[in-house]
């Protein structure tokens, strides 16, 4: 029971995914093998996945543990900037969305510079205009 062991946690994750998908599959009609309903195949696959999860957990006991390392900060910043981009594009316009994306996501970088961000934003907005003009993408830029 070592929650800092990558292999072990991976096994648990797989089992959890299998249980979720397998559990939900019971709410659909099963049918029989010769005439299967919508629930049968997901159940088969998730049972197989569950077995793999168990095997992974068993295996992790015989293999040197690998420490689990992650940092919440970067992934959080990136996700916020993506969601922000989408929200702003929806309610204001995409140019502002792009500016927000640049200014927010660069918080995750090693260094932060306003001037550079302005330059990146201008560049990306120009690219977006080019996409709209030359590739025919319908971007709600303004």
């Amino acid at each position: 029971m070592n929650f800092n062991n990558r292999n072990f946690v991976r096994g648990l994750c797989l089992m959890a995914i299998a249980l979720v998908f397998g559990g939900v599959s019971f709410s659909y009609t099963m049918g029989e093998l010769s005439r299967s309903g919508p629930g049968l195949f997901p159940l088969l696959v998730s049972s197989f996945l569950f077995v793999i999860g168990v095997l992974t957990v068993v295996r992790s006991h015989f293999v040197d543990p690998v420490p689990l390392d992650y940092s919440v900060k970067n992934i959080a910043i990136i996700l916020v900037s993506l969601v922000g981009f989408s929200v702003i594009s929806q309610f204001v316009n995409m140019i502002l969305g792009i500016v927000f994306l640049v200014f927010c996501s660069t918080l995750a970088g090693t260094s932060y510079s306003l001037v550079r961000n302005v330059k990146i934003s201008i560049g990306l907005v120009a690219v977006a205009f080019a996409f709209k003009q030359f590739l025919g993408l319908s971007l709600p830029l303004y």
Binding site: R6, V9, R10, C13, I17, F21, V24, S25, Y28, T29, L33, S34, R35, S36, G37, P38, F41, P42, V45, S46, F48, L49, I52, G53, L55, T56, R59, F62, V63, D64, L68, D69, Y70, N74, I75, I78, L79, L82, V83, F85, S86, S89, G97, L101, V102, S105, A108, G109, T110, S111, R116, I120, L124, V127, A128, L135, G136, L137, S138, L139
Partner: protein, 524 residues
């Protein structure tokens, strides 16, 4: 003769000004993006796939193919000059980087370019002769055989991309389950949609691909804080005649190996490179020099790489089953354009098929004529700091997801998969099999249900049919072999514990970190 006739028909289509332009554009953009750290062929294609939606079918496929082998070549450039590989160019790091250390970067790049050209040419000969023939075989496949072939594909891809059958297979199964989301075609029941209307059509492929390969990759690079030292050495491209002569035999050997391995399920560039490198080590006249930075070490693997990249189109176009994740993406592109790859494709869309084959050779020429001489300018891409690069990558991810359905909601899905992809990455779970599983999942279910219907619920059908029986026994052998290897390791080690050397390689040296990060990200 028929082949020649067909090829000339293909060239007619590929040599129109428009298609030439798409081909050149694909090669160039593919190479450029392939050069960037952390973006292998898989991420490059998923980033650029949405941009081809507005292009006519033939041009779009030609451009995508160009992007693919362009990215492949770009990868080997970054591997040779700076030892940052993606999965598609791990082997190029060995001798290629050694040559850079010796100051022979230009020679290494030239060798890689010329060998790729030779490999590509051989592969196209194989492609144009084999694909129609294999298409005939494709007609013999029944539902059970398709199931068996897909399962074998899962096993092989798992094995090749993550080195561990268990991990890769698990991811393929997760992919299959994700593929179940949406409306069941047989009964019309909405499955796993959580009552969200936009999930009724299933999860968008691009959201998964960009989440797992684009966004997760960006975050991982940010976590690593890896600072790249741009390559500033001199590049002298032209080799001397004796040097040039050394390229040929090794490249030819690599081409043959690559062409063969490219066709097999789960095959593709990665495994072909390793095989070709191993073959050169055994057979080459200069085998004692391999590993210290010699031409043969670069030529063989580059040729195999390029050859396999092309012949891996064969199973996709002849049977309709993509054999690795890159081909799965290609298949998605075909389907978006309204073309179902499979035995019927060559007959119903000969212009597309032969045009694509011909354009591959033209793309080969572009790579050789344009990209090899220009490579020194392109290396300046590396002078762009990552802090500038990653907002741009995120921007492309957003635009790419958005432009599929012109829907901003899809960006949320991408963000969710970015998070999931990051978790997977941190748990050492390879995303390439997931993508393959996701695309093949619905097909697997369909064929499984059909096979069961035909056999009245008996599993015997999988064993009784010669094709599926053979494929399943190959899977059996793979499983037994893996188990035996594991148990033998366990018994041999004194404390009955496996101290895998692989983890040692993941030591926090920047190069090793870059190497493993690359290989994690964009497995074939």
């Amino acid at each position: 003769m028929e082949v020649l006739h067909n090829l000339s028909f293909g060239f007619e289509h590929a040599l129109t000004l428009q298609n030439l332009l798409y081909c050149a554009l694909g090669c160039t953009v593919g190479t450029l993006i392939g050069l960037l750290p952390g973006l292998g062929p898989l991420s490059t294609i998923s980033l650029l796939l949405p941009l081809t939606y507005s292009i006519p079918t033939g041009g779009a496929l030609i451009m995508l193919a160009g992007i693919y082998y362009g990215a492949q070549y770009g990868d080997s450039v970054s591997a040779i000059t700076m030892k940052i590989p993606h999965a598609s160019s791990i082997v190029a790091c060995i001798d290629g980087y050694q040559m850079t250390l010796k100051g022979k970067t230009g020679l290494a790049l030239f060798t890689a370019g010329v060998s790729s050209f030779i490999g590509g040419t051989v592969a196209i000969v194989v492609l144009s002769t084999m694909a129609p023939a294999l298409g005939e075989v494709g007609f013999l496949f029944g539902p059970a055989d398709y199931c068996a072939l897909m399962l074998l594909g899962f096993f092989c891809v798992s094995f090749v991309s993550s080195g561990s059958l268990l991990n890769g297979l698990a991811m393929a199964m997760v992919g299959v389950l994700l593929g179940m989301v949406g409306t069941d075609v047989n009964s019309g029941v909405a499955r796993y949609t959580m009552n969200l209307p936009f999930l009724m059509d299933g999860i968008g492929l691009i959201s998964i691909a960009l989440g797992c390969f684009g966004i997760a990759e960006v975050v991982k690079n940010l976590d690593n804080k890896n600072v790249l030292t741009p390559f500033n050495g001199k590049i002298k491209l032209m080799p001397t005649w004796p040097e040039f002569k050394r390229i040929i035999p090794s490249a030819l050997r690599g081409s043959v190996i690559g062409s063969v391995l490219g066709i097999l399920p789960g095959g593709g560039p990665t495994i072909a490179q390793f095989a070709a490198y191993a073959a050169d080590k055994k057979l080459s006249k200069y085998k004692h020099e391999i590993g210290t930075g010699c031409i043969e070490g670069v030529a063989g693997q580059a040729a195999a790489d390029e050859a396999a990249a092309r012949t891996s189109f064969i199973p996709l176009m002849a049977i309709g089953i993509p054999e690795n994740a890159v081909m799965a993406l290609m298949m998605a592109a075909f389907v978006v354009k309204g073309i179902q790859p499979g035995p019927n494709m060559i007959a119903t869309h000969p212009d597309l098929f032969w045009g694509l084959v011909a354009s591959m050779w033209i793309g080969n020429c572009f790579l050789l004529v344009l990209n090899v001489p220009l490579v020194r300018y392109w290396l300046s891409v590396f002078k762009i700091p990552y802090t500038v690069l990653f907002p741009a990558i995120l921007f492309f991810c957003c635009i790419g997801t958005y432009s599929i359905n012109n829907s901003l909601d899809d960006i949320y899905t991408t963000a969710v998969f970015g998070f999931i992809g990051y978790l997977f990455l941190r748990l050492d779970m390879e995303a390439a099999p997931l993508l393959l599983g996701f695309i093949l999942g619905p097909m697997l279910e369909e064929n499984f249900r059909r096979a069961m219907l035909l056999s009245r619920g008996s599993f015997n059908v999988f064993v009784n049919r010669p094709i599926s029986g053979t494929l399943l026994s190959v899977i059996g052998i793979l499983v037994v072999w893996q188990t035996v290897v594991f148990i033998r390791k366990l018994i041999k080690s004194p404390d009955h514990h496996i101290h895998s050397g692989k983890q040692g390689e993941q030591a926090p040296t920047p190069v090793a970190a870059a190497a493993t990060s690359g290989s994690l990200a964009s497995g074939e």
